[in-house]
């Protein structure tokens, strides 16, 4: 029997990250740098929100959780488990792209590690999203490579974006101390430390090819807190927006 509290905790973290990142990315819809990219980036925002929905449904259907819409949009801020990386406002496109690159590589590593998970629903979901994530990382890698090789200004922006996001992105791998051992032992997934190592292995060659400088691994101080319900100042206003219509009448159908 898999530890239910531990698996819930894991799924909420994953879902909240995807939900908030998807919302941030969706803010670019209609405002992207060129129409073609606007469309591509919007699709990936939809995919993220879709993944979040699938995860909340697993909570609801397999683990006795609340209705996915209510759970996703009507919780108090403290109960969200999103990492600080995804809460940050979009900033300029370099920041958004670099975050997208780091986040989607992390997401890919995470789902890959769950293809053999002992928890069936995660195993099935990880197989289902494989193709989508392949596109996301193809897109992210292409942009990181191209913009880093496109002259001084562009290179400078990408390097700065990497400097600004790397510690935040490392914070995606914040473990929940009370649950981590159980999840590893139950073979739900290999654990955050292992995913962090695999993620660094995955992003490193791309960054090298792009001639971007990754700080020494030991110098990266992951930004933790999100997994314990401690959030940036940016989350609450977004949550307020996300729940605004629902809160007009939380019992009504919309």
């Amino acid at each position: 029997m898999i530890n239910q509290a531990a698996i819930k905790d894991l799924i909420i973290k994953m879902a909240d990250d995807e939900l908030i990142q998807g919302h941030r990315n969706s803010e670019w819809t209609g405002l992207g740098p060129v129409m073609e990219e606007d469309i591509a980036f919007s699709s990936m925002a939809q995919d993220k929100i879709g993944h979040a929905w699938a995860l909340y449904r697993i909570l609801h259907e397999d683990l006795g959780g609340e209705d996915p819409d209510r759970f996703a949009f009507l919780r108090p801020e403290k109960e969200y488990r999103s990492a600080h990386l995804v809460e940050m406002p979009n900033g300029t496109y370099d920041f958004s792209l670099m975050r997208h690159f780091l986040f989607d590589q992390a997401e890919t590593i995470r789902y890959e590690s769950m293809q053999e998970s002992s928890f069936e629903s995660l195993r099935l979901l990880s197989k289902k999203v494989k193709g989508e994530l392949k596109y996301h990382t193809l897109h992210a890698n292409a942009w990181v490579m191209q913009l880093s090789k496109a002259g001084e200004e562009s290179y400078g922006r990408m390097q700065q974006a990497l400097n600004d996001t790397i510690a935040l992105a490392a914070g995606l791998f914040e473990a929940s101390p009370e649950h981590e051992a159980a999840l590893i032992e139950d073979k739900v997934y290999p654990g955050e430390a292992e995913l962090y190592r695999r993620w660094l292995d995955r992003i490193y060659p791309v960054l090298v090819k792009a001639s971007l400088n990754l700080p020494a691994i030991t110098a990266i101080k992951p930004v933790y807190g999100g997994r314990q319900g401690i959030h940036t100042i940016h989350l609450q206003p977004l949550l307020k927006e996300m729940s605004e219509v629902f809160n007009l009448d939380a019992e009504a159908g919309w």
Partner: protein
């Protein structure tokens, strides 16, 4: 999404005379014969200067309407209630950008670059559909736009899809297919509110009341006020008269509004059983022209947001420009 209420160019007499000198009579006859037979005109074909100019203007305005049209609804993406509505709304706004992309490409085949079109939008030289200069104040506005503005757009676009210019027709074919999803999701959200709580119904009624005049404006001024449609109709640039399209829209959609117990803010609105035509109070056409010329509640914001987007994206575009590379217009 949207077309309708196009402002066609009124060339001055001198300009027209000069152009007609370039329009060789035999070629013009062959061109008009092709159109009369129902054949399409393709990018490399000979075409009258006036045909090219009006088409560029038409397709460009349509394209601008799509990317500006993405803004009022884009407003509600973060606030959309629940996963299903939210994903449908993002997908819909994304489609508008996609339609803009297809339409700018179609216009480019006629020789005007995407950059030139964007510049004319930003400078205010080129117009877009008036409806997007009104604010989307509540969630019910999203339902009204998704249902009724998209429905109006479909009436217009289905007509235009039978026009004479191949690339525009092909773009519209795809656009109409996607619009049917927009209309359905809009109708669904509309029904949800119309059959919901008293507060939801009131919210929807309020939105309907505010949007009714812009919707009546959507197809453009009454036929009696527009003077230069004949040639454009013969060339199958303009496919139906403004009044005919308005009537077709009212015929299809007013019953769908009434059947849900909602009302429309025009006591004179009714179908004349004898003529089969709808009768209505003329909307304020002065307001229509005031908004087209920049005086609407959101004109300034829409253009400022578009300018912001262009400025934000500039470094990305510039970084990857290859000025010496061989370029060509889209082939079809």
């Amino acid at each position: 999404m949207y077309g309708g209420g196009y402002i066609f160019d009124e060339p001055n007499k001198k300009q027209l005379r000069e152009e007609q000198q370039h329009d060789e009579p035999e070629k013009l006859a062959a061109f008009e014969e092709r159109i009369a037979k129902g054949e399409k005109i393709e990018p490399g074909d000979w075409m009258p200067v006036e045909y090219r100019r009006q088409l560029i203007r038409l397709i460009e305005q349509h394209a601008h309407s799509e990317i500006i049209g993405a803004l009022p609804e884009g407003t509600w993406i973060t606030r959309a209630p629940g996963f299903k509505r939210k994903l449908a709304l993002i997908a819909k706004v994304q489609d508008e950008i996609g339609h803009g992309q297809l339409l700018y490409n179609a216009a480019e085949t006629l020789g005007k670059s995407r950059e030139a079109m964007i510049n004319d939008l930003l400078s205010g030289k080129s117009k877009y559909s008036n409806v997007f200069n009104y604010p989307a104040e509540t969630w019910a506005d999203v339902a009204v736009i998704g249902f009724l503005i998209d429905a109006a757009a479909i009436v217009n676009q289905v007509a235009n899809a039978k026009g004479s210019y191949g690339p525009y027709c092909r773009a519209l074919e795809r656009i109409c297919y996607e619009e049917s999803f927009h209309l359905k999701q809009g109708h669904d959200a509309f029904i949800e509110l119309a059959t919901g709580t008293p507060a939801q119904k009131a919210m929807l009624q309020d939105a309907l009341n505010r949007w009714w005049q812009p919707i009546m404006h959507f197809f453009g001024p009454p036929d009696k006020a527009s003077s230069h449609s004949e040639k454009l109709m013969q060339w199958k640039v303009k496919m139906a008269s403004n009044d005919d399209m308005r009537n077709q829209f009212l015929d299809s959609y007013v019953p769908k509004i009434w059947e849900l117990g909602m009302t429309l803010p025009d006591p004179a609105l009714k179908k004349n059983a004898e003529t089969g035509k709808w009768e209505y109070t003329d909307p304020d056409w002065e307001e229509f022209f005031r908004v087209i010329n920049g005086g609407g509640p959101c004109n300034a914001e829409r253009l400022q947001v578009r300018k912001w987007a262009e400025e934000q994206g500039r470094w990305v575009r510039k970084a990857l420009m290859k000025p010496t590379e061989k370029r060509a217009l889209p082939v079809a």
